[in-house]
Symmetry: C2
Subunit: 406 residues, 2 copies
């Protein structure tokens, strides 16, 4: 069994970097704070005797040799970047649970046949740079290194330049790195486990996701003298689409999701009718056919709104991945480790994307969920219980040992 106190202490230590007043963490990908977080974790990895490899997209792999190093490593990992209003556990838990597994193996002087690796992937959150899950996406070839390097934040800074600046543009070619099996522990980020009072979520699949940028262009004009009938109000037209995004998701329960999370209004002055509004759309479903139906309904609604309003409306898909069922062998490894340890458990479909879905394109993969308070994440008040985090890490240890062999 792993050391739950040590795991908790490491989580709290890492959470100091970018800590917010409300108890959350703001450590956006490739910022100075991200560098500090990376340095801390790499330092811990070295202390635990692991060797470090960094690839060209900044993914970091910390390796503990096995007795047969010709075997591909059994890998675990996640990310340490956070949302602008993020919590202490999202991603961070997956990385530090992996570290805790290695520390435990060291304590117990256990040698595995296959090597063990703990990875942290670059820019999983996708809130500073799109595409989301960038590091694992480049690693598995879902998109190119060039695409990723060219991605810009709102200030126009690129991933390529920022990686260089913080010293994490490594030499290794992404993907030039075999994987035997991949496991990822994560807080659920939803309310299902807590509601059902279960400790371990076995994850059969992750919902597919479509992200869009929508731009509505009207004509800015003075809010006083411009008669209502002569306006081309980009915000009013945008609000219709924003409402439809939610209406579409509501038509496809229980796994339809629709969210507008990001809005920019131009010129954003209180006495100017908005001339342009840009906003994001996030659609999800665990069934790819339904996800596609949602996509089609949204495009049709935008066409209708365009002709009714006479305003220019552009829509561009900026990210997409299909639903990802995990490998039966890895799902079973998680299920049997949970049974062996005697934790209460249920299956939970993941609504959030995870690096595991890209790792799953290269190797058998599976995930382990633990409950988080009120199902809340992407929020500074995100919280999780030490005993649940410890349980998830124990399941990880046993699932990895099953694959890596002692």
């Amino acid at each position: 069994k792993i050391n739950g106190d040590r795991l908790w202490a490491s989580l709290m230590e890492l959470a100091k970097i970018g800590a917010t007043e409300k108890g959350g963490v703001k450590r956006l990908a490739l910022t100075d704070l991200d560098k500090q977080g990376r340095d801390l974790v790499v330092g811990w990895g070295k202390e635990a005797g692991m060797s470090i490899t960094i690839d060209q997209i900044g993914n970091v792999f910390m390796r503990r040799d096995g007795t047969n190093n010709a075997l591909p490593p059994v890998m675990t990992g996640s990310h340490i970047d956070t949302q602008p209003t993020g919590g202490k556990f999202d991603g961070n838990y997956g990385v530090l649970a992996g570290l805790e597994v290695v520390r435990t193996l060291n304590d117990l002087k256990i040698k595995t046949e296959a090597p063990i690796e703990v990875a942290f992937w670059t820019n999983e959150e996708g809130s500073r740079f799109v595409p989301v899950m960038m590091g694992s996406g480049v690693f598995c070839g879902a998109f190119s290194l060039e695409t990723a390097y060219a991605a810009k934040d709102v200030d126009g800074k690129t991933v390529g330049d920022e990686l260089e600046r913080i010293g994490y543009k490594g030499p290794q070619v992404p993907g030039d790195h075999p994987i035997g099996a991949y496991f990822e522990t994560h807080i659920e980020q939803g309310p299902v486990l807590e509601d059902a009072d279960k400790v371990i979520g076995v994850v059969p699949a992750v919902m597919g996701l479509s992200w869009y940028d929508c731009v509505v262009t009207g004509m800015e004009a003075h809010a006083g003298p411009t008669p209502m009938g002569l306006r081309k109000d980009a915000l009013q037209v945008s609000t219709r689409i924003m409402q439809e995004v939610v209406a579409i998701a509501n038509r496809y329960p229980p796994y339809g999701r629709g969210t507008v999370g990001m809005v920019q209004v131009f010129p954003n002055s209180r006495n100017v009718i908005p001339g342009e509004v840009k906003f994001s759309i996030d659609l999800r479903n665990v069934n790819d056919e339904l996800l596609n139906t949602m996509h089609e309904e949204m495009l049709a609604f935008i066409d209708k709104t365009r002709s009714e309003s006479g305003l220019k409306i552009s829509i561009e898909r900026v990210s997409y991945y299909p639903p990802c069922p995990f490998h039966p062998e890895c799902v079973d490894a998680v299920r049997s480790a949970t049974a062996k340890l005697g934790y209460s458990t249920m299956d939970v479909v993941s609504g959030a994307g995870h690096d595991a879905i890209y790792a799953a394109r290269l190797a058998p993969a599976g995930m382990i969920f633990v409950p988080c308070k009120d199902g809340i994440s992407h929020n500074e008040i995100e919280d999780a219980k030490a005993e649940h985090l410890e349980a998830g890490c124990n399941v990880l240890l046993h699932a990895m040992l099953e694959r890596a062999r002692v």
Copy 2:
């Protein structure tokens, strides 16, 4: 008659300060660019032999003595701050038309009995700092100097500090300054004159205005795993109110106006359900009773939305002034000057607020409108014809001479 070419040349010279790529001007109140614009105009005033007074809120008065300086001055003026996407004429025209009147009187060696003053008022636009029409508002006692000094921009900078920084916190107590009569020339900022093919708008009244800040507070959570039915999506609730603002205005034609111009979404990340949305509401009407009805309907809708959604919604009125009918003597002075000069004319209610409505609380006041292209202002493509600007300035000259006496 005034010199239309000289007026145009001065307008184009001032428009270089803060010129935007699209041919507009961005010279927000109390920025470095505002200081440059102020310095240029003050320099021109001195060249025209005027003495300069600056008051504690940064209003600038440029004075040409009369033959009887015991008489209160006949004043004209406007503002030189602009919107973030502003044009060359809004406000600037009123100030430079006043300057052109003085230059013309100098050329023709005309002495007036009462002194003539050209004022420019601080932060008329209200887009960097609220309240709008701040300088003239403090001057007439609509709100206090302390309130104005404490006003903050989005970066937290205050009016008091910014006035000091640009060197325009003068010694004179605002309002400690008699006015005999006040005239203001301005582009119409609406489509009425152009539609009717008239050159001069006589302005009987200005619409009243109510501004609000509305904050909807939900709960930020992850866009993927959070089921639709468990969300507290602050943006979705906000879009209902945003649509109602327009619906209310549409119920009170022809002078009802409703606009949401400014929106901020928190945390503004594409995979986070918005936890908080702040937005502005702008309601106007020329009839105070109807304006109040609109106000009541909006509050009732917000109450209804609050109880239906269960989200916290706060609404605060941040600016209000009632409709302002102008003084019959000044309206007549404009009307008869227009008739004498033979320009085509009609009455136009002003949808935009102007410094004249605050000056009107201290002295008889009136306004002169000229057409602007497509009725567009608060937009970089704002435009006006030199011949119309010249005509408005001639009307100003004659209306002022009638009141100041030769």
